[in-house]
């Protein structure tokens, strides 16, 4: 199952807002000057300038566009710069390794815009809950918004409200000379948020220029990606879809990429993430719900730091795909024995399936075990099985058989053993 709400790049979010906002707020006169520089573009800097001629004339701002915040504090923002300074900044920062929280990653995208001199920084964001869309507004935007959160005004707009007739005036403080642009801007932005299926939109800060132009400075957004089919004219065109980037430093291991590739080829669901290559406990669990419960139980029993992976298979995957999935985990768990010579545990778990054929999926797993019997024995791997569902007896019998045939230690439990009990049985042995 995929998450519905997905982050998008600031560049894409600004482009989307800029293209849609004039439909509701025609006075929004955005400069439209936005560019992203990457290491490749820096290598062809002349072409980059030719594509964005305003770089030569405007004063510039540059900042990372890779879904992380607190860029100012990390000294990653360039302000009020000319082209030469921009180039120097890009050369210095691009390809640089960063530590964001406890994740390491490489900086490879800088967003460049014209520099807008401003005095006041305003805050606006829009969020949703079950019954409302909520506007959050503050005069004290920018980096201080968090410490001034009590000054933020929250305006819930009940779902289904006609925003044109919604009374903002009494809910918002008077902005004096900017009042006549601010209200239409908020209404317009709110309509863009709803019409384009945003799940989160935050402009922190935006500025209002002397000639009453609104300029979004920093912008963060999430879209509801399940709504893509409703937006083939804007961000959801399947031939040119908006990018849903993964966070900085989140790289996919080749074993993970293999399963992702398989997952995309089938109607079944195959998910796999490595947590700790040296982990002693690995899981191959059927079903999204059950996989969470197994992982929880391992952590609850105090073995979280020894857990090798998180993953699940469901939706009746074919025998072949199940075998590849199983082989992938077996290869990882049996890469090398535990340095301290302890046993390793492979938990082949699952609840009682609705319609996934236990025999068919287990045939694939059994085949992988049979092919890897020596590897598993060398790495001192012990296998624990628990499963129920259509053809459960035959499926579990196959597991017992392959244990007997190959000498790989396999303990097999059926529906009458509590689903996660195999975890405590396995872990209490050592």
């Amino acid at each position: 199952m995929d998450m519905a709400q997905k982050n998008i790049y600031e560049y894409d979010a600004k482009k989307l807002v800029a293209s849609q906002l004039p439909n509701y707020f025609p006075e929004f006169n955005y400069h439209g000057k936005l560019a992203v520089i990457t290491p490749e573009k820096l290598a062809n800097f002349d072409r980059f300038i030719a594509e964005n001629p305003w770089l030569k004339t405007d004063k510039l701002v540059a900042k990372p566009d890779q879904l992380f915040g607190k860029r100012g504090k990390a000294n990653l923002i360039l302000l009020d710069a000319n082209l030469e300074q921009l180039k120097k900044f890009a050369e210095e920062k691009l390809d640089q390794e960063l530590k964001i929280g406890n994740v390491k990653g490489v900086l490879n995208r800088l967003l460049i815009e014209p520099y807008t001199p401003h005095e006041t920084e305003y805050y606006i964001s829009i969020t949703s809950d079950r019954y409302n869309d909520l506007i959050h507004f503050s005069f004290e935007g920018g980096i201080f918004v968090e410490e001034n959160w009590d000054k933020v005004i929250h305006i819930p707009v009940p779902f289904g409200t006609n925003i044109e007739s919604f009374d903002f005036e009494t809910k918002l403080p008077n902005l004096g000379k900017f009042n006549d642009v601010l209200i239409p801007f908020i209404k317009g932005l709110f309509q863009v948020y709803c019409a384009q299926d945003f799940a989160f939109l935050e402009i922190n800060p935006f500025a209002i220029t002397e000639d009453k132009k609104i300029v979004p400075l920093d912008l963060k957004a999430r879209l509801d990606d399940t709504a893509a089919f409703l937006h083939i004219d804007t961000w959801g065109n399947p031939n040119n879809p908006i990018e849903f980037p993964i966070g900085i430093g989140q790289k996919m291991a080749k074993e993970e990429a293999l399963i992702k590739d398989l997952d995309e080829k089938t109607g079944a669901s195959l998910k796999f993430q490595i947590l700790n290559r040296d982990g002693r406990i690995w899981t191959m669990v059927a079903g999204g719900g059950a996989s969470v419960v197994y992982t929880d139980t391992i952590v609850d029993l105090g073995y979280g730091d020894e857990l090798g992976n998180y993953g699940e298979y469901s939706g009746n995957p074919s025998r072949e795909h199940t075998e590849i999935y199983a082989q992938n985990i077996i290869d990882l768990i049996s890469t090398s024995p535990d340095p301290q010579g302890r046993e390793k545990y492979l938990i082949i778990g699952g609840g009682i399936a609705n319609f996934t054929d236990v025999k068919a999926t287990f045939t694939g797993i059994v085949s992988a075990i049979r092919k890897s019997a020596d590897k598993l024995k060398n790495a001192n791997v012990k296998i624990f099985v628990r499963r129920g569902g259509p053809n459960e007896k035959q499926g579990l019998e196959l597991m017992k058989q392959v244990g007997k045939e190959t000498g790989v230690p396999i303990e097999v439990y059926d529906r009458y053993t509590h689903m996660t009990r195999v975890v405590s049985i396995a872990l209490n042995e050592n």
Binding site: M1, Q5, F229, Q273, V292, T297, F355
Partner: protein, 611 residues
């Protein structure tokens, strides 16, 4: 039905989407529960043309029908008592179809199965349901079950699992979870440590489920038959705090055993896809640990881990039992549902005679085969039409000369101008505005004893003569005096000994050159010597030559006498003429159609009118 119930033993549902398997599963459940009436009233199939169709389903071992409507409005009109709609439409059309159901007057509960419905659309459905006092289960769910009463679609899996989990009769536990995948497991586990499930609902893993855990718990609280509440919550969102609130303000008083899953999230990398769409903690409050703690503090029975959930449920049940709060259940043996024939066949339990034997082709595999030869081989090796005819008509790979002979015959018979009866009829029919098939058929229907019949008749009589050992002169007398017809295959309107038919010459040449033996042709030429001595146009004509040389072909192949008999009996020779001439007749039909030729009417001056 009490307002806290969504489904009871009389509940009937309308199924949106032509989903035959869940419908049958619902009816099988009904049967093992000893329901009086099927739980499915109707099916909606918007793609059908007819306003009303019928779908056959089994009720035990008997077939009954369920009406299929094109529209929901007609279905609700015809089945005003069906107050549940189970919506199997895709994520694209789930919104408009669910909206229509919520806005109808008769549907009270809408179950949405599809996954991936845009959040804003789900929220709009929630708004409509709220305004109209309706109930939604889902999206992204398998549904739920009221044991012994009503089962939504595919909930609870196979019948075997339903029996093992005692879902054919109600117990005392009201269960609700987000995950549908865990519901089978929980239903069974609960059946093992209590007297079983009363009702189990999976609300679905979306961020905005149509009904929340609390909505169902409040129903369970109001239902006196439910004694224990069991919940499987999930990391992400704040819906579990509504339970905390309800316990604190006294709207939930029954013992509630709950576990919120996702406690492992704290050690997993941030941003990891962990379970459902809604399963992502946006703040400390949304973590599984925080929710479990808050629930514990509010008085819920919360284990330390899922590992102990079964024990907590059992303890709670045993305590209530001791307090005599559990009414003993009238157990009964659920009736057996007959096994589906296909399943029994798969297991080798039954057998059934077939009705037709086919020996020439098989299309069940990856590649269709003709007499065992794969179509891929035929194409790759560029096999001839004669080869294909050999496979399908004679079940043999014919030798090269035989393939060639067949193709020569097809070419020779392909057309004989527009005036012959077959072509003429085809032309007239085409010009009457009929389609290709009718026009061709009308041409083919003229083939018989007089048109095209000379081929098979020649074969018939010359073969008989040869078999009976008649001398050529004897044969001529036999035809004249006994059969009383001219010898078929002898004689031509224009051609003669001096002006031979080139087609006959070519065919004879081919046979002399390629056939090892040709007794029929030799015999016919002896007969021809005698007939042409009478009149010079009594030559072996092309029809006769084809029929006779075909007999010789059979003599040169690996056929026994009996097999040759079968070939002739099965009219293969007529087949060759029909096949060949169809090419020409279709040509005439196309020709007329291309010209948009109008209706043909025979001119009066070609008809003699008389009394």
């Amino acid at each position: 039905m009490e307002s806290y119930k969504l489904f009871d033993k009389n509940t009937q549902a309308i199924i949106y989407g032509f989903q035959t398997r869940p419908v049958q599963r619902m009816l099988d459940f009904d049967f093992v529960c000893k329901r009086k009436k099927p739980s499915v009233a109707a099916i909606i199939r918007p793609t059908q043309t007819a306003a009303i169709g019928y779908h056959k389903v089994f009720w035990s071992n008997k077939e009954i029908v369920i009406p299929i409507y094109k529209t929901l409005s007609l279905a609700t009109k015809k089945h005003p008592k069906a107050d549940v709609m189970i919506n199997f439409s895709s994520f694209r059309s789930s919104y408009p179809t669910s909206k229509e159901a919520l806005e109808s007057d008769t549907i009270r509960t809408v179950v949405i199965i599809a996954e991936g419905i845009p959040e804003r659309l789900s929220r709009d459905l929630i708004r409509i349901a709220r305004e109209r006092g309706k109930f939604i289960i889902g999206p992204a769910t398998v549904g739920g079950i009221v044991a012994g009463n009503f089962k939504i679609g595919n909930t609870a899996g196979t019948l075997e699992n339903i029996i093992l989990s005692k879902l054919y009769r109600p117990g005392s536990v009201g269960f609700v979870s987000k995950s549908g995948g865990m519901s089978n497991e929980m239903n069974f586990m609960i059946s093992q440590c209590t007297n079983g499930i009363y009702e189990g609902i999976a609300i679905g893993g979306d961020r905005y489920p149509g009904s929340r855990l609390i909505d169902h718990l409040l129903r369970y609280e109001a239902n006196p038959e439910i004694k224990i509440l069991v919940v499987l919550g999930e990391i992400g969102g704040v819906d579990e705090y509504a339970i905390v609130e309800a316990m604190k303000n006294g709207s939930i008083k029954k013992p509630l055993v709950i576990w919120v899953t996702g406690t492992a999230a704290k050690i997993l990398p941030q941003g990891l896809q962990f379970g459902h769409a809604g399963a992502m903690a946006g703040s400390e409050k949304e973590t599984a640990d925080a929710k479990n703690q808050a629930l514990r503090e509010a008085g819920a029975i919360v284990p330390d881990s899922y590992e102990d959930l079964d024990k907590k449920i059992k303890e709670t049940f045993e305590k209530l039992k001791k307090e005599r709060k559990i009414v003993p259940i009238d157990e009964f043996e659920p009736p057996k549902v007959p096994m589906d024939f296909s399943e029994a066949q798969r297991l080798g339990l039954v057998r059934k005679p077939t009705n037709v034997i086919v020996t020439i082709s098989d299309d069940r595999g990856d590649v269709p085969t003709f007499a065992g030869v794969g179509l891929d081989k035929i194409i790759r090796e560029n096999k001839s039409i004669g080869y294909v005819i050999g496979l399908l008509w004679f079940k043999r790979e014919l030798p090269e000369f035989a393939q060639q002979f067949i193709e020569i015959v097809i070419k020779l018979t392909a057309d004989h101008g527009p005036a012959v009866s077959g072509a003429h009829n085809a032309i007239i029919t085409a010009r009457a505005g009929k389609d290709l098939m009718s026009s061709l058929a009308s041409g083919i229907l003229t083939i018989g004893p007089r048109f095209g019949g000379a081929i098979s008749n020649a074969a018939k009589y010359f073969r008989e003569a040869l078999q009976k050992g008649m001398k050529p002169l004897e044969f001529m007398g036999y035809m004249k005096d006994v059969v009383k017809i001219n010898i078929p295959g002898i004689g031509h309107r224009i051609k003669s000994v001096q002006n031979p038919d080139v087609r006959v010459q070519l065919l004879k040449e081919f046979v002399f050159k390629n056939f090892e033996k040709h007794p029929h042709l030799d015999y016919a030429l002896e007969v021809e010597k005698l007939t042409t001595s009478k009149r010079n146009n009594l030559i072996l004509n092309v029809d006769g030559c084809i029929g006779i040389t075909f007999l010789d072909l059979l003599e040169n192949l690996d056929f026994t006498k009996e097999e040759i008999e079968d070939v002739i009996f099965s009219e293969a020779l007529n087949g060759l003429f029909v096949l060949g001439r169809s090419i020409g007749m279709m040509g005439h039909v196309f020709d007329q159609k291309r010209q948009r030729a109008g209706l043909y009417r025979q001119p009066w001056d070609e008809i003699l009118f008389t009394d």
